[in-house]
Structure formats: structure tokens, C-alpha cells
């Protein structure tokens, strides 16, 4: 391996962090005006500031826009009750996927690990499919769908962890168990959908992921859970750094490798299950975000985890915005847009990996 093919060690720089922060702030504000219906910028901003300040700023948010009071109310509803929750959910779910991806890449010592590695997506999908197919809680889909998806997702993760933990606790066994069980669940799902073609369409839409369930209640739940779980995950940065040297070396340096592995996988599964519950399966965000952080700020997991959350949040929000900009007045599944950005990057990684060093989970 010659030095020439190695990229220089990125030193910690403040610039990328600052760009992400400022750019992110602007993106969030503009995103809240963007959706299936365009909101004029001036009026939209006034409405936002009015609502955010609790009515202190711009007591009459639609002044100077020439909108009728009915129109003003409609725009207020759109910005405040439709778009902003969507923006917030995109941020939270993106952050959840980014941090879970970073944590799993660390624990599996595999740059291609992603949050759906352990069959969590299959479990979540099956849970969602059960709600559609058996018409559970008709009229309360916004309640039952996430609940079932969450239960399906997290129980798959736990099952795999339990099966693989017993006697043969290697990382490879865990991965293969995940792949095997995910396949089994997909087969069950196919069987269920085969006899319920109508629900199939709904399930497919759910499979592609979307922000359709967003409202303030959902957001509150998601923000709280992801904040707690994400913080806990970030505390394992130091351990993940040492695990990169192999479980034995990590243990000789004082890391309880087996315990850390189980806890990180558990936390990552939980945080992924929450994302899956509210938005369905959104691919590639979790895979790509940690790698972007590594390129910008090095491979210290104390940076990769929170950084992955920040990048994941903005990535998903950008995907949402692009989908609205590219296809105005249509609500398209978000998973499609993350895939469009993610797949080329994924291929680039694969290519780069070959050149750099032998890859592998070991």
C-alpha cells in the first residue's frame, strides 16, 4: 500500500461544521415554505416568525401580502401544521438514520453497514403490512401503523441479537443471522401480500418511505426518543474507536467488547425502529452520512456519530426539498430520492475500497 493512494489524515476543521450549521439553518427555514403547494416567501416567513415567537413578531402575519383572511389562515395551516412538522420529521429521522448507520458501521467494522442491516426493515414492513391487510384500527392508521411497525422492527432486531448472542457471538454470525431472518420475513411478507393485492400498493408506498405521517404529536415523540437514544449512542464513541482495532485489542485496552457490541446494536436498532415507524424505509441516508463526516473530519467516532446525525438530518431534508422542486405538486416517496443520491455514492465507495485496502468485516 503506497502512501500516494491514501488520503491525508483530515485534521479537525471548524469550517465544515460552520457551513453545515449556517447552511442547515437556511435550509430549514426555506424548506418550511416548500411543498406540494408553494407558499410565497415573504408571507411564509412572516407566518413562521409569527408562530415561532408566539405572536410577538408580526402580530398580523399576512400584512402586506394582500391575502384574504381565509387565504391567510390556509397558508398558516400549510406552513405551520403541514410543512414545518414534515421538515422537523425529516431532520429527526435523518439524524436517527445517520447516527444508527455510523454506530453499526463501527460495531461491525464494516463501511457498508447500514441501519437496516439486521432485518429491521423487513420486520417493520411486516408490522405495517399487518395493519393494512387486517385493517387494524381503521381510521386510526396514524396511531396503529407506527406502533405495529415499531414493534415489528424492534422485535426482529432483538430476535437476531438473541439468536446470535447465545453461543456463537461473532460479528459475522450476527450479520448472517440478520440476512437469513430478513429473508424469511420478506418471504412471509410476500406470502401475505400475494393474497391481499390491494394492501400491496399501500405497503409498497410505505416501503419507499415518506413523511406523510408528520404532525406535531409525532414530531414530539420522535424528537424526544431520538434525542435520548442518540445521546446514549454518542457516549460510545471512544469504545467504537477502540473496537476498530479488533475485539481483542479493544479488550486489552479496557473495553468490554462483547457488552459494548450488544448495547450499541440495541440502541441503534431502537433508534432505527423509531425512524421506520414514522416514515417507512428510507434507504442510503444511514449508509452515506457517516462517510461524508469521515471525509470532512476524520474517523474519530466521537465526531462521526454526532456528525453523522447532522449530515443525515440535512441530507434527508434536502431529499425532501429536491423531490418537491423536481416534481412540483406531487408527493413522491422520499426513498426514491435518497436512493438517487445514495446509489452513485455507494458505487463510488465500493470502487474506492478496492483501490485502498482489502475490505471485510473481520
Amino acid at each position: 500500500m503506497s502512501t500516494a493512494t491514501l488520503r491525508p489524515v483530515p485534521t479537525r476543521r471548524w469550517a465544515p461544521g460552520l457551513v453545515i450549521l449556517v447552511g442547515g439553518g437556511v435550509l430549514v427555514v426555506l424548506s418550511a415554505l416548500l411543498g406540494a403547494v408553494d407558499v410565497p416567501v415573504q408571507g411564509g416567513l412572516q407566518i413562521l416568525l409569527h408562530q415561532l415567537s408566539g405572536g410577538q413578531l408580526f402580530p398580523d402575519p399576512c400584512r402586506g401580502t394582500g391575502w384574504s383572511s381565509g387565504r391567510c389562515g390556509a397558508y398558516t395551516f400549510i406552513v405551520w401544521d403541514l410543512y414545518l412538522p414534515e421538515v422537523l420529521l425529516a431532520l429527526v429521522v435523518g439524524a436517527a438514520l445517520g447516527i444508527a448507520g455510523g454506530a453499526l458501521q463501527g460495531v461491525f467494522r464494516n463501511p457498508l453497514a447500514d441501519p437496516f442491516l439486521l432485518g429491521i426493515s423487513s420486520g417493520g414492513t411486516l408490522g405495517a403490512a399487518i395493519v393494512y391487510v387486517y385493517r387494524i384500527g381503521v381510521g386510526h392508521a396514524d396511531l396503529y401503523l407506527p406502533a405495529f411497525a415499531f414493534v415489528g422492527a424492534i422485535s426482529t432486531g432483538l430476535l437476531i441479537l438473541a439468536v446470535a448472542r447465545g453461543r456463537y457471538g461473532s460479528v459475522e454470525t450476527l450479520l448472517l443471522t440478520g440476512v437469513a431472518i430478513a429473508n424469511l420475513l420478506s418471504a412471509i411478507l410476500s406470502l401475505v401480500l400475494l393474497y391481499n393485492p390491494v394492501s400491496g400498493e399501500q405497503v409498497t408506498f410505505w416501503l419507499l418511505g415518506g413523511l406523510g405521517l408528520a404532525d406535531w404529536q409525532v414530531d414530539g415523540l420522535a424528537v424526544g426518543a431520538v434525542l435520548i437514544l442518540g445521546t446514549l449512542l454518542c457516549l460510545y464513541g471512544r469504545e467504537l474507536n477502540l473496537l476498530q482495532l479488533g475485539p481483542d485489542v479493544a479488550q486489552s485496552a479496557g473495553v468490554d467488547a462483547a457488552r459494548v457490541r450488544v448495547r450499541v446494536i440495541l440502541l441503534a436498532s431502537l433508534v432505527t425502529a423509531i425512524a421506520v415507524a414514522f416514515t417507512g424505509i428510507i434507504g442510503f441516508v444511514g449508509l452515506v452520512s457517516p462517510h461524508i463526516v469521515r471525509r470532512l473530519a476524520g474517523s474519530d467516532y466521537r465526531i462521526v456519530l454526532p456528525g453523522g446525525a447532522a449530515v443525515g438530518a440535512l441530507f434527508l431534508l434536502a431529499a425532501r426539498d429536491i423531490s418537491y422542486l423536481a416534481f412540483p405538486r406531487v408527493v413522491l416517496p422520499l426513498g426514491i430520492f435518497t436512493a438517487f443520491a445514495g446509489v452513485p455514492f455507494f458505487l463510488y465507495l465500493l470502487y474506492r475500497q478496492r483501490r485502498l485496502a482489502p475490505m471485510g468485516g473481520g
Binding site: T3, R238, N241, V249, A253, G254, V255, S299
Partner: protein, 439 residues
């Protein structure tokens, strides 16, 4: 003197399934000692180190580190007493050396702590100790293999443990870097009183740097003492199966070993005194059983003309048989034929294996013809019903010609070997050699 041993273990037994990796091993190391663990591959060196580290739970016995059973210590507390330098480390991220060495400070931190200035000062000092002071900002994948091994040592030293275990730390290093690394470990051990246990492959390095050598063989401790007492020609023969010369370095007064050759008990190496040469003509695997049987019986054997990569050529090669060879699947050329004829010329007995003959190796039979009558020629008959002639009848004709001019037909390998014995028996029984007219 009252102070506990750095390592104390007795009756240590570790099993992997039915395989016993360590068998009733007593192993004590005094504080401040530099102990070299040596032994052939699979003798249990790494297993012993891993047991001391607490990675493995022994099936019997226990390991105490500075007076406390290692398994009773929390993993974090173990890391403050024992550090480990593995043979190599799987590094995938190009982490700056300073940060890498700071990883060794893990057991001193709580989850919310960040690295302190004291940690950084310590890490830089240790980098200086291993000769990497000016490389602190370089990535660990960007430095050379020798430097990387020193960086790994630095990471282990950052744990500031009184006991340091090294598992063949010099396995991938050239001789200069081997000396460099072990000298540094040696001097750190002397200046800081760090106890060192190093599994080493190289006995001369072990003798050069250690206070004491512990020899493991098949999971047992078979020798233990100062390098002068332990290293002997007899030990190398017994444990490694190697014939070696032992000498004393005039400058250091330390013993060093010069390995000569592998000792094989089962089969005495053929010498110029062995009977022969017996030349075997074959190809495609037909001669392999014959080659083995003749070598086992102590004959000097030659073979030809064989094609590279075929079973006969591989067998000849593995048995150390001199053979005339041709490239794979090529017709026998002038060069290989000349070499084959030279071997035939030397042979005291020629055995023709029941090999398949095609146009590419028909020359093998032609070349034997002139020797019939000069030396005994044995023609091993093919198994019933097998077709060996792929040369349009030419092979059958040649075999018949060999028989007609005095070659002796033998039914199988065993009969052929018996006939070779008779042909090469001491002169008094020479009359028992098969008569050429018999065939």
C-alpha cells in the same frame, strides 16, 4: 521478598474442544523480569498469553496478576495492569498517531471525559520513547511496517501498565527492525521496571534479549531457565525436530543457534551409499506408487521423462527424486530427452511403469530400448483391461519389442520392488537377479 509475582499460575489447563492447548502449565514471572516464551507453532505460546490477559478462561488452574486472579478484575482494571502488543493489528482508518496512542488512555477515562492535556503530553513522550516523536500527526496507515509496530507498542505503553505482553511482535519485521523494537522494549523494561513476557519465534532474539526463556511444546512447559541453560542442540532436536549447531557469541557470551536441517525420523535421507539409482519411466500418475515404494525402501530413485504438473512429477518433487521433466502437455523435446537418457545411463535398474503412452511421450519407451540387456529392465504390467496405447499401436509394439529383447514383465508394484531388491542385492546373491531371458 514479599512482593507478589507479576504472574503466578499453576496447573493451567486450556482446552479447545477435545484439543488440549495448555497442559498443567506452571508459569511464574517475577516483577521486572523479561521472559521469552518460545516453542514451535501450535505449542501454546499465544494461548498462554491470552490466558494471562483474561481472554480465555482456563479449564483448570487460574492466573494471578500481581496477586489478584485476572478474571476477578474488571476488564478496565485489567487494562491498567496488563497491556498487549499483538502480532499485527487490523487497522482500517488512517488515524493520526497521536490520537492512536491516546486510545491507550481509555481505561483512565469516564464516558464524558475528553482527552486531557496530561494525556497528550504523556502520549507525545511515549511516541518519543519509540522513536516516532516527529510523526505524531502522520496517519497510522501512512507509516512503514516497522514504524507501525512501534506505534502499536506506544499505544500499549500508554496504558502505563506494570506488565507488558507481546505476541510475536517482530513476526513481520526485517532484522534491523526486529532488533530495534526488542532493544526498545528491553530498555523500557530496565528503566521503568516493566515486566515483559514476549512470545518469540526467533530463538536467537529470545536469547539476546530475555532474562529467562520458557519453552513450550505441545502445551507443556518443557524447559525454563536462563538462555545459557535452556538453549541446547538437544532441545532443538527434541522440541523442533531440527538439527542445529550451538555456538557462543564471543562478544556477548550469549548462545546462538545455527539450524542445519530438519530431522526426519521415519525415512533416512537417501545418500550416495544407498543402493541405486533405480530409474522409473512413467507419466500421468502411473509411476507414483512405485516411486513411493522405492523411496520408502531406501533406494536412490530417478524418474523421467515426466510432464510438469502431472501427478508423477509432483510426487517425484515431493519425494526429492531427481527427474527429467518437460513442460506441461508438450511433446518431449530434445533437451528433456537428453536429460532422460543421461539418467537412464546412470541407472542400475530401470522400471517401466504402466503409463499411458501417446504421441507426446512415445519417446520414453523408445529411449529405454537401447538399455535392455545392459541393465535389468522391469516392465510393470498394466491392470487387466486398461488401455494404455494412445499412439495408434506404436506403444504396444514398443512394449512388445522391450519384452522380446529381454525386459522382464512383473505383475504389480510389489513384485517390481521385490525384483529391484534382488537386482541390487550384494554381489554374493547377484545370481538371484532375474535372468534377462526370462521374459
Amino acid at each position: 521478598m514479599g512482593s507478589p509475582l507479576a504472574v503466578h499460575s499453576s496447573g493451567l489447563e486450556v482446552r479447545f474442544g477435545s484439543r488440549i492447548a495448555l497442559h498443567a502449565v506452571d508459569f511464574d514471572v517475577a516483577a521486572g523480569e523479561f521472559v521469552a516464551l518460545v516453542g514451535p507453532n501450535g505449542s501454546g505460546k499465544t494461548t498462554l498469553l491470552r490466558t494471562v490477559l483474561g481472554f480465555l478462561t482456563p479449564d483448570q488452574g487460574s492466573v494471578e496478576v500481581f496477586g489478584t486472579p485476572v478474571l476477578d478484575l474488571a476488564i478496565r482494571d485489567r487494562a491498567r495492569r496488563v497491556a498487549w502488543v499483538p502480532q499485527e493489528e487490523t487497522l482500517r482508518d488512517n488515524v493520526p498517531l497521536l490520537q492512536y496512542v491516546l486510545y491507550g488512555r481509555y481505561p483512565f477515562h469516564h464516558p464524558l471525559d475528553s482527552d486531557t492535556e496530561a494525556d497528550r503530553v504523556l502520549a507525545r513522550r511515549i511516541l518519543g520513547d519509540v522513536g516516532l516523536a516527529d510523526r505524531a500527526e502522520d496517519g497510522i496507515l501512512s507509516i512503514s511496517g516497522g514504524e507501525r509496530q512501534r506505534a502499536i507498542l506506544a499505544r500499549a505503553l500508554a496504558q502505563e501498565t506494570p506488565l507488558l505482553l507481546l505476541d510475536e511482535p517482530t513476526a513481520h519485521l526485517d532484522v534491523a527492525h526486529q532488533l530495534d523494537l526488542l532493544s526498545r522494549v528491553r530498555s523500557l523494561s530496565r528503566t521503568r521496571g516493566v515486566t515483559v513476557i514476549a512470545a518469540l519465534h526467533d530463538l536467537n532474539l529470545a536469547a539476546r534479549f530475555s532474562d529467562r526463556i520458557v519453552v513450550l511444546s505441545r502445551g507443556r512447559r518443557v524447559a525454563d531457565g536462563s538462555p545459557k541453560d535452556v538453549l541446547s542442540e538437544d532441545l532443538l532436536a527434541r522440541v523442533w525436530g531440527v538439527d542445529a549447531d550451538l555456538a557462543v557469541d564471543s562478544r556477548s557470551g550469549l548462545p546462538y543457534l545455527l539450524p542445519r536441517r530438519l530431522i526426519t525420523e521415519t525415512r533416512p535421507a537417501p545418500s550416495s551409499l544407498s543402493p541405486g539409482p533405480v530409474h522409473v519411466v512413467g507419466g500421468g500418475g502411473a509411476a507414483a506408487p512405485l516411486l513411493r515404494a522405492l523411496v520408502d525402501d531406501g533406494f536412490r530413485v530417478t524418474a523421467g521423462a515426466l510432464h510438469l504438473l502431472d501427478t508423477d512429477a509432483e510426487t517425484a518433487d515431493s519425494l526429492g527424486i531427481v527427474a527429467a521433466v518437460e513442460g506441461p502437455f508438450a511433446p518431449l523435446g530434445a533437451e528433456s530427452r537428453a536429460r532422460h537418457r543421461a539418467l537412464l545411463e546412470e541407472a542400475r535398474v530401470i522400471v517401466v511403469a504402466p503409463f499411458a503412452v501417446g504421441p507426446s511421450n512415445l519417446a520414453n519407451l523408445e529411449d529405454v530400448l537401447p538399455f535392455v540387456g545392459r541393465v535389468p529392465v522391469l516392465l510393470v504390467e498394466p491392470p487387466a483391461g486398461s488401455e494404455l496405447d494412445f499412439a495408434g499401436g506404436a506403444a504396444t509394439a514398443l512394449r512388445a519389442a522391450l519384452g522380446a529383447s529381454g525386459a522382464v514383465a512383473v505383475p504389480d508394484v510389489a513384485a517390481a520392488v521385490r525384483a529391484v531388491h534382488q537386482a541390487l542385492a550384494p554381489v554374493s546373491t547377484a545370481s538371484a537377479a532375474p535372468s534377462p531371458v526370462e521374459g
